[in-house]
Amino acid sequence: MNRSELARLSLVVVLFVVVQDTVMLDLRIGGVHPDIMLLLPILAGIVGGPSRGAGIGFATGLVADLFLPTPFGLSALVGCLVGFGVGLATIALDRSAWWLVLVVALGASALYEVTYGVLGSVLGQPQMLHVALARIVVVVAVTNVLLAIVAVRLVKWGMAEASTEGMPTSEAGIGAA
């Protein structure tokens, strides 16, 4: 990852944090607020593949953990797993298909929230499963589908240049939105 990509990605992450902690916290549906921070590992997995999905999922998860009351590092753990999983699951698919992002955002958001609750519970926070998990899954997955089209453009922009600049094995076009 070069400086340009790091700066762009940082900007995208800060934008996501700002939107999450302002608009999304005010927006409560059935007592649950949307969580756009988990779109970052999901979309990084689609755009960059398993390795970069895992790496970016870990880093953005740590940033998300700074603002959450849940155990520090839990979002990083789930983020790298989901980023890797999404990268692996979509590796053989035509990533230019417009519907792919929507389907993956829906499925991976739901999977993320369930994994988050289960892993939190396993790692000493059993109360994390005593929540309205079904409602959280539905609200977060549906809002993320609605926002995925815009969000994927931002993530592609953030991850664009590094894959085409200064790397002999890189392939052009990843960032072309």
Binding site: V17, V18, D21, T22, V23, L25, D26, L27, R28, I29, G31, V32, H33, D35, V47, G48, G49, P50, S51, R52, A54, G55, F58, L62, L66, F67, L68, P69, T70, P71, F72, G73, L74, A76, L77, C80, L81, F84, G87, L88, I91, R95, S96, G117, G120, L123, G124, Q125, P126, Q127, M128, H130, V131, A132, I136, S163, S170, E171, G173, I174
Partner: protein, 279 residues
């Protein structure tokens, strides 16, 4: 679109990242890294606070609009209520109901008899929880006001929760309804029997632990903090009242359901008690 660049060993990368994450979680939970992580979290909150308030001022109307479109039915009902209220206000030339309510809550906080001589700081609730997986609130006081980790937070009726994160000007309170919360209490005639009240999640009743089976409990009976040596809260703060209790055929403990004395869903102002647990 061309396929993405693939690492030669993505599984190794994943394994290393998972190990790193589990290590961070473990060290944070065991206390080794907690000083560092709470410092970083506090720094991030401080740095982010001005951005957040600036952006909030701009986007709050948008958030309200979106919330309004989602809660159309509730908003319409609220609109009708407000309309009726406006008519009433015009007729009676009353002061704003909202201001009166705020004043009522604040005045009540000034006369919390159960606090005795303990020093306290009033605070405004700024956010109702940043995670769907925990019952917390954010308040607008922090270290600069003398607030420290683990200090108790009370509301009009009684105990609200405990400070779990503190930055320079803000703090996060874990509510007693959170599943991780456990409060030592006394109940019954003096000197009172001991029990532990556990949270079961936001908006749900509390449950009591260590109440022997067939203990006579009347609905409405209030349980107060025990204040035992090393307790997390000072003695005598009302916590919750009994709603129902029953004993199973083979149970050794009474199954008790309680509601918090403070209305945790409508908190606007709270008081942080400047009292740290003795260790």
């Amino acid at each position: 679109m061309a396929p993405p660049r693939r690492s030669r060993r993505p599984r190794t990368t994943l394994l290393l990242l998972v190990l790193a994450a589990v290590t961070i979680i473990t060290l944070d939970a065991r206390g080794g890294l907690h000083v560092v992580t709470s410092g970083v979290r506090s720094g991030a909150s401080d740095a982010f606070s001005p951005i957040r308030s600036g952006v909030n001022a701009i986007v709050e109307p948008i958030g309200s609009f979106l919330a309004g479109s989602v809660h159309y039915g509730a908003v319409r009902e609220q609109n009708q209520k407000l309309q009726a209220e406006i008519d009433q206000l015009k007729m009676g030339n009353q002061s704003s109901v909202d201001q009166a309510e705020a004043l009522r809550q604040l005045s009540a906080l000034l006369h919390l008899t159960y606090l005795g001589n303990l020093q306290s700081v009033p605070a405004q609730v700024t956010d109702f929880g940043t995670s769907d997986f925990a019952a917390t609130i954010d308040i607008n006081v922090g270290r600069s006001d003398g607030v420290q980790l683990s200090m108790p937070v009370v509301g009009n009726g009684g105990l609200v929760g405990q400070i779990v994160k503190v930055s320079h000007h803000t703090a996060t309170v874990r509510l007693i309804s959170d599943g991780q919360s456990a409060v030592g209490v006394r109940y019954g005639p003096a000197p009172g029997a001991l029990a532990v009240l556990n949270g079961t999640g936001a908006g749900r009743p509390l449950s009591a632990d260590l109440v022997p089976s067939n203990t006579p409990l009347t609905p409405g009976e209030v349980m107060v903090t025990s204040g035992l040596q090393g307790a997390l809260f000072p003695a005598g703060i009302p916590v919750a009242h009994v709603v129902s209790s029953h004993t199973g055929d083979t149970a050794t403990q009474e199954s008790v359901s309680l509601l918090p004395e403070s209305d945790l869903t409508h908190l606007r102002y709270v008081t942080v008690v400047l009292w740290a647990p003795s260790t």
